[in-house]
């Protein structure tokens, strides 16, 4: 998607003093990307631990609710950091990101996986045993989640190549 309105919006961001500052100081983008990747590392490892538990592969000495309680908050606390660093990168290079097909795909995958994660975690708040005996559904959730998060990483890396 590359509408005229979107490209105009990118140009207007590009013209801001903040964007020009980010563009002119060479170390800002790699430094912010480093923080972005570290936050992704926190998210991915937490997601992996939760999903391996859902698949019955690791951490099976603990309940699903307990594993989700340990690693779920890491995901939610990392997201604002990812949004903040991601927004900085967008302001620095608006057209390269916002108008990029892989960026748009990445955002679609992100919204999908957040919805999936809420769907999984929400019932646990009121009933820690909610998912007991629903191992088939948990397996589907786990596989979907792993695919979506891996897709987010792939799409994110591919932004640089389009």
């Amino acid at each position: 998607m590359k509408t005229k309105a979107l490209l105009d919006f990118c140009d207007s961001i590009d013209a801001t003093a903040l964007s020009q500052t980010i563009q002119s100081i060479k170390w800002v983008v790699p430094a912010v990307q480093t923080v972005h990747i570290l936050a992704i590392a926190a998210v991915m490892s937490s997601i992996l631990m939760i999903n391996l538990r859902l698949l019955g592969i690791a951490g099976t000495d603990q309940t699903v609710a307990r594993v989700a309680g340990r690693f779920g908050p890491v995901v939610w606390w990392s997201l604002p950091l990812l949004l903040l660093t991601g927004a900085t990168l967008i302001i620095g290079e608006p057209a390269r990101s916002l108008a990029n097909d892989f960026f748009q795909l990445k955002m679609f995958l992100l919204v999908s996986v957040i919805a999936l994660t809420v769907y999984f975690q929400r019932p646990l708040k009121t009933n820690p045993n909610f998912w007991d005996g629903r191992s088939g559904a948990l397996r589907v959730i786990a596989v979907l989640s792993l695919i979506l998060w891996s897709g987010i990483i792939f799409a994110g890396r591919w932004i640089a190549y389009l």
Binding site: Q33, A42, V43, S45, S46, L48, M49, L52, Y161
Partner: protein
């Protein structure tokens, strides 16, 4: 045979040539590398935070390492293989890149730290397995591991920037 001759021979292999000249081999391997590296650093930090006494405190150290470290090693293997393939495509350039060399110094430091921990304080883990606050040597190992791996990621990001300005 000097090092550059060897590096040139690596670059000339058909697989290295394909990665260098192919349409999507390089970005694809980068994706695998990023995914693997985030899992290595993220999972090892779960252990580090436990050793520091900052998280997963209700679980014994051995339980945490037992469920996390197999993931770390599988991800490390994927990172090493994808990294070696990426390296082969431009071996000479990478071998002469300062950030790349610093990155490997930090990987070596992380490895040395792990060995010292494994053959040192970890020998008595049975005595402090369930302790919320592990002994000082274990906490130091956890803190160093976190720092070294953050440095590895930072250097890795800078390798991309120092080689292809703008492309990252």
């Amino acid at each position: 045979m000097d090092l550059d001759t060897l590096l040139r021979a690596i670059e000339a292999t058909s697989i290295a040539t394909e990665i260098r000249e192919g349409e999507s081999s390089f970005p694809f391997l980068e994706c695998v590398h990023v995914l693997a590296v985030t899992l290595v650093v993220g999972s090892i930090s779960i252990v580090d935070l436990r050793l520091l006494g900052w998280a997963s405190l209700e679980r014994a150290v051995s339980r945490v390492t037992g469920s996390v470290l197999p993931c770390t090693w599988i991800a490390f293997a994927a990172a090493a293989i994808s990294g070696a393939l990426l390296f082969s495509s431009n071996a000479i350039t990478y071998a002469h890149n300062t950030w790349f060399l610093i990155k490997f110094c930090f990987i070596a430091l992380a490895g040395a730290n792990m060995l010292i921990f494994q053959f040192g304080i970890h020998g008595s883990v049975a005595n402090w397995d369930s302790a919320a606050t592990p002994p000082t040597a274990a906490r130091v190992a956890g803190a160093l591991s976190l720092l070294f791996w953050i440095a590895v990621i930072t250097c890795g990001r800078w390798v991309g920037f120092s080689l292809q300005p703008g492309m990252g």
